[in-house]
Amino acid sequence: MYCERVISEFENPFHMEILSDCTHVVESTNSGCGDEARIYIVCKSNVIENIGFQAFGCASCLAATSFLCRTVFGKDIKEVAEITREVFEDAFRDLEPAQRHCIDMAEALIKKIVELKIGADAQI
């Protein structure tokens, strides 16, 4: 039922934690199934220096959010803006149809991170 990527991210999630020193939080909810993901970002000088997440929902939601965090960690916001849906499509290409909503969620989260227009002195 689960592709290798989902299993590996589920069993070894990347920074599944709340960051108390985060500068920004973004979240996304799938109104259909109720999945919810929340990302905690420590961003300084437009660089994502640290990132953590919580995902409430199915395993593919958790895996996609974990993969997103792994992917954007250490990147400049401009680089994050260049991450397209295809990155997730490629990483999770073996998802079953019922699991594909996690790609929508990951794409929405990326957009929200970019839309933060993070500046050097930005604080939540």
């Binding site: 039922m1 689960y2 989902v6 299993i7 589920f10 069993e11 999630p13 599944m16 909810t29 199934c33 109720g34 999945d35 919810e36 919580q54 995902a55 409430f56 929902g57 199915c58 395993a59 958790l62 019922a98």
Partner: protein
Amino acid sequence: MNAIISELIRSSDYFYEDAAAQNEVKVRLISEAFSYHRSRNKHYKGVCDEAGAAGLEIKTVEDIGKIPLLNIQEFKQADSSKLLTSRLSEIEFEMRSTGTTGVPSISRRDYESCNNAFAYIMGLYRDFFHIANGVGLYFSTSLEEMPEMGMVKALNFMNATLDTADFLVRGVTFDNERAIADLKKWEGKFTRHILGAPFLLSMFVDYLKLKDVRLTLDKSSKIITMGGWKRYSGIQIPREELAEKCHEYLGVDAGQIRDMYGLVECNTLAIECENNIKHIPATTHMSIRNMENPEIEEKDGNHGLVAIYDPSSHSYPAFILTEDIGVIERGKACECGRLSDTIRIVGRAPKAETGCCAIRLDRQMNEGEEA
């Protein structure tokens, strides 16, 4: 744990056996399940160690109450993956329930858990409802719309024995006129059954009253409800009043209206007999816990938090402290012939989220109307 499925299939037989026979199977299955999860599940082993249950052996029904419980809230946490005894690669199905906060409770079932759930639920349905044909009018969404919603999934097991079905909630709208048309269309051709959430049944009979439409279902018709008797707004649905309205506008007796109690996280159901008494299968144990200190087991007849010990879960330990308040009677000789423990659900814990599949459906329909 492989042999458990044969006992689950026999669950219905155990209802009619004496307390000794029921207790024997209950203790044996729960003891095996407890040992299985304690030895293979790192998180649960930690829970057991902390509770001083590392060496606990289950030899009597009284011992079952000593098994450490998982709080139902753990299934809603971001780290709910820790609850798994099985690997994710073994999981076949994720089922969910969502309450008022919107955070889903996720329960993950592997091959054996799915087998057990299917056999268990079908066996219970057969024993309580004797439905082998007829039509089902679902007062819920279809699985197509909400494939992982626990209530919808559980009710749809019945579809395997029905001739056809219709689902009255489409999008976020319940179609009263379609329900009436279906019931009229099927009259004299099929035995008509209604399955779904109590709040929708309540809304439907109110609609019939408003339109002064009186229908008469069939003598074998069942109205099977699930999902709780509280609305999203917090208003309690009055059960007796609803039964009276169903009698007047749908032509059914109270004994034809059967409510079921269960959790998405468990494979078991307590189903009402024709006397509207919910029977607990012998292959499951339920106990009542003190509201202030859930480690204390309440005496029979007292109300408190419901704890469920379901040995049919293979992928995670289904020893769960719920947020439902109930009362249990042990070994009740019911007029229906069953000799099992019975449970009455009387409410939700004061600080608990009003939560279940029906509540989510209610909320979505309300939000849809407001939009």
